[in-house]
Amino acid sequence: MPSKNFWILLPTALLLTAALSAQMAPTLTVAPIPTVKVKKGGSAVVSLKASLPAGYHANSNKPTEAYLIPLTLKWTGGPLRLETISYPKPTMEKYSFSEKPLSVVTGEFAIATTFKAPADAQSGPASQTGTLRYQACDNRACYPPKNVPVSVVVSVE
């Protein structure tokens, strides 16, 4: 049974967490990816679901300006062979710092990756790993690019 102090400390901790999070640079969150089953020689699609806090945007995979850092997903290790990566459809948004609308992603979005399992792939579970790179801004400031490690358990059958 929690003590009386617990009932005082819990809301205090929650309030502090909320207050602190409002002062930090935006963090893109990636939802855990369910285990993917794939047969040897077969294909599998991995959907990576990500989200940015309200009020922030990240450049899409094909930014409108050359100097902007694109959203990129790179798969670096694992038993599967990369076939294609489909980035989310960007929206064109106008910001106070841009003369022209920018190609961006906001809120929740998904990136679909199609993999192929080689015919000689080893059976059993293994990790497919990669990195999601993004660079976020709000309407008045931008934040340094960040790399988010991503991982999915694949089960080759």
Partner: protein, 201 residues
């Protein structure tokens, strides 16, 4: 209703109420802080009073020619110290203002120092400087310098430094050209305080 069911119901209600209250209060505080942050960014930034100014941290960074530059080299001048990056859209809005200020005030004891926070270094900076026709000194920044200035994360972040090497105003995010200009004019009209250079760190 049996006693134990009432107890359990009360406990569940208590937890739900507590959770709801915490989330509601947390959201309110978070929203109000965000709102305040936006307000702070857009409000006029007056030049701080003399007594409230702190000495700008000393740094040692290199310019495009590899020459080591210290902030102390600029003591006696009004300095706009701009932390920026080539990938930062709002920085690109302010840079032409600084080009203008450099040209307009250079002969009155003024200088702009652009500290680039680009990870790719001069490979990214050099073509950008040429394209934007940047006429002021650009330095390659590092995390250490950013940390010295309060952990510069949001770009642009710009410090206006008086002739005595003290921070007179700070602008986080896209600012207003007139605010900068007003601060520069005011500081240029004020002689250096000979005692300030040695006070604080």
């Amino acid at each position: 209703m049996p006693g134990h069911i009432i107890v359990v119901t009360v406990k569940i209600f208590r937890i739900a109420l507590l959770g709801f209250t915490a989330v509601a209060l947390g959201s309110t505080i978070a929203c109000s802080q965000l709102f305040t942050a936006f307000e702070q960014r857009t409000e006029k930034r007056p030049v701080k009073d003399d007594k409230d100014r702190k000495i700008a941290p000393e740094f040692e960074l290199k310019d495009a020619g590899g020459k080591v530059v210290h902030l102390a080299d600029y003591r006696g001048k009004v300095v706009v110290l701009d932390f920026w990056a080539t990938w930062c859209g709002p920085c690109g809005i302010e840079i032409p203002w600084f080009v203008d200020f450099e040209r307009k005030y250079k002969d009155r004891g003024f200088a702009v120092l652009g500290v680039s926070m680009d990870d790719d270094g001069w490979k990214a900076i050099t073509p950008f400087v040429a394209e934007k026709k940047i006429n002021y000194r650009v330095l390659l920044g590092d995390d250490k310098t950013g940390d010295q200035y309060g952990g510069v994360e949001a770009l642009p972040t710009t410090f206006v430094i008086d002739r005595s090497g003290r921070i007179a105003s700070v602008h986080v995010g896209l600012a207003n050209k007139k605010d900068f200009e007003d601060a520069i004019e005011k500081l240029l009209d004020t002689p250096a305080d000979s005692t300030a250079a040695h006070s604080g760190t």
